[in-house]
Every structure is written in structure tokens, then in C-alpha cells.
Symmetry: C2
Subunit: 492 residues, 2 copies
């Protein structure tokens, strides 16, 4: 790490009343800092002029100290570049043991919250780390208009509006929420007013805030089986009981849910393109679910990711649009549509809950960052967003078709394909006897990124298979990737 | 809102097998969407060519439908601009009641979590809304190098590194954490390695994550009295018991804390510049606090905001730097040093707790946004950060001096000034009998932003006064603002 911080002033104190000369105090201060590794080799030292100003001393003691540190090899300098902590410090000096502040091994009680143990360990799965075939939630970045985007970013970055910069509405900026409200009303049939919309950093934060507002420990909540693991983690961390309700070709089996746990607090669904199987929730199941929620006094959380891309028919309107009782909390995200590190999504909140959501958000992190809200407002209002979606729908449709054809060609009847009518991924299920997690691990070593299907199940009974994302694979690499997949599955 | 979303496709479905002609289906679809207010006046309609492609129909039925909608006044168009929903729709058409999806008043049980009631109501205080005299935590934005900043922003925005964009380390990017580690080791005496650092959206998120890792319901936690209300809110929301420990001219009274609640789970302190009174925690109190924590097995959360600016002496090293038992969780923020909507801060975590912090962060919101981490890494590594701090130290020092002189001139012995030796605010206490909240409300109506001191107290016993921020007041307006303050306090 050679581009170290420039000219940071170490915490050197000089005491004018001390009998020790100033130049010696300054020399001692730097030397100790270097030996204690508070200053690292290669790190830039302030110029003697800057340090003199900071310490409010004459420049002479500083120059004196610097000369000695240079002579002894603690500093090195190059004309025009400045002064640095020497990259090659003599061994014997580093071994000088200074008294004080070496750190003890931790000892004594170091208690963490019992509640913190409800959070699952973070596993940096190989499948998550890789970009490319067949990573899930990975858009085709080569087609994102980064030039246009960055000119919008630069524009807003240059012209900070003081009010906006200080704007601390936990819901987010009004302009951005208006753009989203217009979009949702028109494209997703979501009925909402601007002040029902909260800007969040993504679906995950949306789920987290929702859980804090609505759920107490021990509350049972319906989740799709198979479903989205990270969503279940939010519930588990909140102390809730996820109740897995099986998904068939119409979506979540509401009747099964009622039999299993009629008085659940809420149901979490992905009705546009079920994660991971890709099923679209049928109209009758939607009405059953809404009916159940109003009858027992439950909430429905609709995660509408991936709703922009349908290949066989027109977009399906949201579940929220059918809800006349304001029991649906609607979550959407821009991260999968634009790019993942954008960290921007939204919640549409039933009006009587807005006040609680705002109270929770304020305490959690006060307000969302300003820049991308402004940029995305322009991006939407100037028509680039819909243009981009339209273009990507075309691109993903072609990739999807190529992938399905390749899979059929390579595997024939050996596998079933699910959910290929929409979205940026499909699911393939294998014959029994194959362990999808084992195959995924092997594939990761060969840089083929497979998301195994079985971890999506909460219960014991599960299918083996893979969730194949196709957003980020170059079209001309699809066949080769599928052949690679075939090879890995067939081996051993 | 006239810059409505451009060309959003409403969820119009066409059914080729239906006996209804295509042009009638398209006409009906748009008309219904307009009457149900899913499309709003002034909203842009896709071109007939675009819609034909989307619906996979010939362009003729689309043109036919558009012509009728234009003729009937649902659409309006201007050559070269496009087609829009008419801004002036005839009244009688809007009053046509369509069956379905008008929304009912909420009814039936609509339960929120008992836990959510622990979050205080969000009050949009007048004092918080205003920018300028005497808003707290408001840097001098006119001196922020926005041109330089935005060129860095544009650079990184233009050159997305695919790996970085997909980077999902809950801690944040390594490059940024290295820059922070270098800075902290050198400037604050914080001993840390890169993998102890977690990037957060600010002190508030840092406190929130920390509470989730460390505290269970009912845990007692020492807080400074007076202290930081939003910090207490995090504890209350987590179900903890904040135990107010009085602050004197040496900082938190540790002995009083031990008498009040020896076995507390943690202590929250602001040792560099106590919020709100501005006291610097003395060396002996620091050692007492560290000693206590190790003896009883407690944690210390050090919120080191405002540590960059000291006016009377050299910077004080962090409490963390004195801790040999790794019990201090160190929180810092860039938002107050650079600009508030930046939403960037960091936590330095004891090594044995890192795994739990990562697990919690992953579930809360997965990973922090990428762009500003890269920008700020450059800003720090190229020396702009320290240059900026140095410049602001000068600026704030001058404003501070002017403010203190004005206050003394206007008020003389009527008030006490606290905490003027450091930071971007000071506290002034008034004689008894004056209600600071009432005065603040009156001042807000005259656009003078006063943060009252009394709400900073948890207990009944409190002082009246104001926390006066001076970061954002133009230097030449300080006297006038103080006279304005004087007038408001004197009146009535």
C-alpha cells in the first residue's frame, strides 16, 4: 500500500515550558510514532513549513528535527516530491521496544447480545463472488450507459443545493419519490402518493425496516418454499418464525398456508417472478392471499424485483394494485435493473404505517444519500430509464432464448427448466442423486458461478438444481458455458 | 409535477384471440389508466412506433387508437415533443366511476410490533430544518472544493470496475479502509488493522449495528448527561436502559457511574469534544473508564466526531489509543467534516467482534455503496483531505473567536460559554427561568436556528441554553446573528 495518506499530522504535542528543546520534542515525537507503527513506511510527512504552522513554532526547530530524522534514516526525501517515512528502515531500530500501549490479548467477559446470535454467519460463497456465467442478479453492465450516467453524476456533484445537501427527510427527496410514484402508477399499477414512498439502499434494507416496524419476536410469517435466504435471515434475526409454504406452478399455495398457520403475522411473496423458481403468481392465488390477509389481519410484503422483464406476454400488474385494503407493503429495487453498487430501492408503505416507518428510519440511519437520488430522478424524467429497460428487455430476451436452447440441446429431458418466461434468471432442476452444492463448489474452482437451488429451501424436503442468471454472460459465450456446466455435472 | 416520467408503458395487455379489435383494446387500456389516475395529466405517452414494438402488433391499430384518444381529448401532442396525457381533461370524463380498485378505508386488525413503539416519534424540529446561524453539524460548504470533488466523482463514475461494482464485502472496499486506517493511526492514535474497519452511512448506522451486536433488551448502558438524543434513541429502540451519568469539567463522572450502575453493559462517550457541552475528557477519567470496562467486562463506544478541530492546543489522541484491552468500539464520520449528505463514516471494531458485525451488516443492507468510497480514497490519498481539514481549522477557529467575542459583548456575565476550545459548536447556558425550547421555537419563526440544550438531558434536572453551531455562518454575519439572538431572548 504505497499511496498512503498524504501529510497527515501525527498527534505530536510540543510543550514550550518543558526543559527539552523543541527540536528534540519534535524528533522524539516522530521517532516514537514510527516505531509504534502509527506512521508507516512510505507515508508522506508534512512539509517543515506546514508543521511549523500547525505547532505554532518557528520553522528552525522543525528543520533541525527533520535533518536529524533524515540523517538517521527515519525519513527520506526527494526534491519536488516531499518527505516520507523511509521505506527501508534499519532492522535494529524497529526492534526497540517502547513502553506502553502494546495490546493485550482479549481477556475477561466480552459479552455479545444473545440476539446477535440469531444472525447467520456470513459466508463468502464462491458463487457469490464471481461475475459472469451464471451469476444471479448481475445486469449486463457492458450495455449500461455509463458515459451518460456519469455526466449526470458530475452535474449534480458540482452543483450542490445547500438545502438538498442538508435535507434530512427520512423518506428521501421529494423529486425522486415523485419520479418513482409516476413510474409505479403507470408501469406497475401501484396506487400510491408521494408520501407513501421511502427510499432505501435496496430490498434488504427495506425488509429490515419492515421487520422492525411490524414484527415482534415469535411472530410466525409465511415465506415461499423454496424462497430467498437473505429474506429469511431478516426474519430470523428479528426473532420471527418463518413458516415455509410450498410454491407450485401458480405460486405460493395459500390454502396450504392457511392449513399450516392461519394466524400468521404476514406473508412474504415475489409474485411477478418467484424467487427462485420463476413462477408468476396466478390471479386466483393473488386474490386468495389478499382475502386471507384482510380476514385475519395480516400484512403482505411484495418484493417486486425483476418485474421489468417479461418475454412471452405483457407485464403483469403488481399484487399491490389489486389490494383494496392497503395491506401490501411493496418493495422495489434499482440495483438489479441498473447496477448493484447503486444501492437504491424503495418501499411503498400503507399510509397509516408511514409514521412508524419514518420513526424507525430516523433512528437507524437518519436519511438516504442525496447524489444518486438526484441523478436517478433526471435519468427517469429524461426518459433514459425506460429506454434502458426497453433495450435490456431485448438483450435479456435474446440471452434467455439462447440459454434455454443450449440447455435443451445439452441436457434434453434430464433437466426441467423453470421460470424462463421472465426476469434475469431461470431455475433448472436435476434428477435426484446429484448434490447441487457439491457441484457448485467444484464449478467455482473452475470459475463457473453456480447458485445451488437446495439452500433456498428452509425445510428438509428439497429439490436439487441451479439458479442460472444470464444477465451478465456475453451472448456468444452462452453455449460454451452450458457445455462447461454439462462437463462439470457429468464428471464424477 | 410536470417533468413526469417519460414514455412509461402502462400495463396494457392485448389479447389477439379476443373478438374486440386491437385498436379498441388499446384505446380502452389507455382510457382506463387515465381515469384510474394511473396515468397523470402531462405524462408522456410512448410513441406509436414504440408501443407497437412493445405490444408486438402492427402500427396501424396503435395509430388508430391514438387518433381517437387525441380526438376525445385524453391525449395532446406537440410536433417534435411527443404525445402526452392531456393536461386539461374534461371534468365529466374524470367523474366516470369505474368498477374495481377504489381503495377502502383501512379496517380490521393492523398490528405493528410492540417493539416499534420504542422508537420515538420523528419530529421535524424547526431548528433542524434550517441552514445557517446557528445550525449544528453544518460545515462551511462555501469552502468545500466541489469542483475538485466532482471531477473525482465523474472519473469514478465513468470507469466502473466490474469487480468493484459487484463487490459485496459488508466491511466496504479495501482501498478505502486502508486510507482510513492510515489516517486514524497517524492522526488519532487509533491502533487498527484494515480488517477491523467497517464503512457505514454515518454515526447513526454505526450505533445501530453496534447495538444489534452487543445489547439485549433490558441491558443498562451509561450515557453522558447531557448527551446526544439520537444516540439514546438507538438504545431505547433496542430495549436497553440508558443510565444518565453526569458530565462535569473533566467529562463523564466515572465514579458516579460506578455508584449508579456498576454492572452496566457499556458506556457511550464523546471524549474529544463532549456533545453538547464540549468538554474534553481528562486523562485520568479516560483511564478510570478503561479500567472500569475491563474490570466488569463492559464495552466502551467512543464517538469521535469533531476531533479534527482544536483551537487552543494540539489534537488529543483518541481514547481508543489508550485501550490495551480492545474494549473500545471507535466511531468516526466524514459527514460533518465534508458535507452531510455524503453519508459516510466508519467503525473500528475489536478483532474478536468483527465476525458478528459482518454477519449483522450483511443481513441489514449487505454492503455499502461503492462510488463515494472510491472518491474519498483518492481525496485522502492525494492529500486533499488533510489540506481541507487544515483550511477549515483556520476558518472555524476564526468564526469561533468572533462568536465568543460577540457573545461576551452582547451578554457579558449573563451567560456561560462551554466547549469553545474545539469543534464546530459551543454551548451557552442561560440563567434559570428562561425556557430554551420556547425561545428556539420563536427564533425558528424568524429563521434563526437554535438547538435548545435542555432536550439533551435525559433526567429531570437540566440546564437551559443553546448549542450554537458556527460552521455554516458567514464570518461577517456572526455579530448580527448574535444581536438577533439577544433580541429574541430579551423579548417577552
Amino acid at each position: 500500500m504505497n499511496r498512503a495518506a498524504s501529510g497527515i499530522l501525527p498527534a505530536i504535542a510540543v510543550d514550550r515550558r518543558s526543559p527539552t528543546p523543541l527540536h528534540k520534542q519534535i524528533y522524539d515525537g516522530f521517532r516514537s510514532a514510527i516505531l509504534r507503527r502509527e506512521l508507516r513506511p512510505g507515508q508522506r510527512i508534512p512539509s517543515s513549513r506546514e508543521l511549523a504552522i500547525e505547532l505554532r513554532v518557528s520553522r528552525f526547530p522543525v528543520l533541525n528535527a527533520y535533518a536529524q530524522l533524515l540523517a538517521e534514516g527515519y525519513f527520506e526525501s526527494s526534491v519536488g516530491s516531499g518527505t516520507f517515512v523511509s521505506s527501508a528502515l534499519p532492522e535494529q531500530r524497529m526492534s526497540v521496544a517502547l513502553p506502553r500501549t502494546s495490546v493485550n490479548k482479549p481477556s475477561g467477559p466480552r459479552p455479545v447480545a444473545r440476539g446477535s446470535r440469531l444472525y447467520p454467519d456470513f459466508e463468502n460463497q464462491p458463487a457469490i463472488r464471481g461475475w459472469g456465467a451464471f451469476g444471479v442478479h448481475q445486469p449486463a453492465l457492458d450495455q449500461f450507459p455509463f458515459q451518460l450516467w456519469s455526466s449526470l453524476v458530475a452535474h449534480h456533484s458540482r452543483n450542490p443545493h445547500a438545502n438538498a445537501i442538508h435535507h434530512i427527510n427520512p423518506l428521501g427527496t421529494e423529486r425522486f419519490r415523485e419520479a418513482i410514484a409516476d413510474y409505479l402508477r403507470a408501469a406497475r399499477g401501484v396506487k400510491c402518493e408521494v408520501d407513501q414512498i421511502m427510499i432505501v439502499s435496496g430490498s434488504q434494507q427495506a425488509l429490515d425496516i419492515t421487520a422492525r416496524v411490524l414484527f415482534d419476536r415469535g411472530d410466525p410469517v409465511w415465506v415461499e418454499e423454496p424462497g430467498y435466504r437473505l429474506q429469511r435471515s431478516v426474519l430470523t434475526a428479528a426473532g420471527c418464525i418463518p413458516v415455509p409454504i410450498s410454491v407450485d406452478n401458480e405460486g405460493m399455495n395459500v390454502a396450504a398456508g392457511i392449513r399450516a398457520r392461519r394466524k400468521a403475522r404476514a406473508a412474504f411473496v415475489t409474485p411477478s417472478h418467484q424467487y427462485p423458481l420463476g413462477v408468476t403468481m396466478s390471479a386466483s392465488r393473488r386474490l386468495q392471499l389478499l382475502n386471507w390477509a384482510q380476514t385475519v389481519g395480516a400484512w403482505i410484503i411484495e418484493d417486486d424485483y425483476d418485474s421489468e422483464y417479461r418475454y412471452e406476454s405483457m407485464p403483469i400488474a403488481s399484487l399491490h394494485g389489486l389490494d383494496v385494503n392497503q395491506r401490501v407493503i411493496y418493495i422495489g429495487t434499482f440495483s438489479k435493473v441498473l447496477f448493484p453498487s447503486l444501492r437504491l430501492g424503495y418501499i411503498v408503505i400503507p399510509p397509516d404505517l408511514v409514521e412508524r416507518f419514518v420513526a424507525v428510519r430516523h433512528v437507524m440511519d437518519i436519511f438516504p444519500p442525496y447524489l444518486y437520488q438526484e441523478v436517478l430522478s433526471d435519468f427517469i424524467n429524461e426518459g433514459h430509464f425506460t429506454r434502458h429497460i426497453r433495450r435490456m428487455r431485448q438483450t435479456y430476451g435474446e440471452k434467455r432464448t439462447a440459454l434455454v436452447e443450449s440447455l435443451k440441446a445439452e441436457f434434453g429431458r434430464e433437466l426441467e427448466i423453470h421460470g424462463a418466461e421472465a426476469g434475469m434468471h431461470l431455475a433448472m432442476t436435476l434428477q435426484d442423486g446429484l448434490r447441487d452444492t457439491g457441484i457448485a463448489a467444484r464449478a467455482g474452482r473452475e470459475r463457473l458461478w453456480l447458485w445451488p437451488l437446495s439452500p433456498s429451501y428452509l425445510g428438509e424436503k428439497h429439490r436439487n438444481g441451479f439458479i442460472l442468471g444470464f444477465g451478465s454472460i456475453p451472448r456468444d459465450q452462452i453455449s460454451a458455458s452450458v457445455r462447461h456446466l454439462r462437463t462439470i455435472i457429468s464428471s464424477k
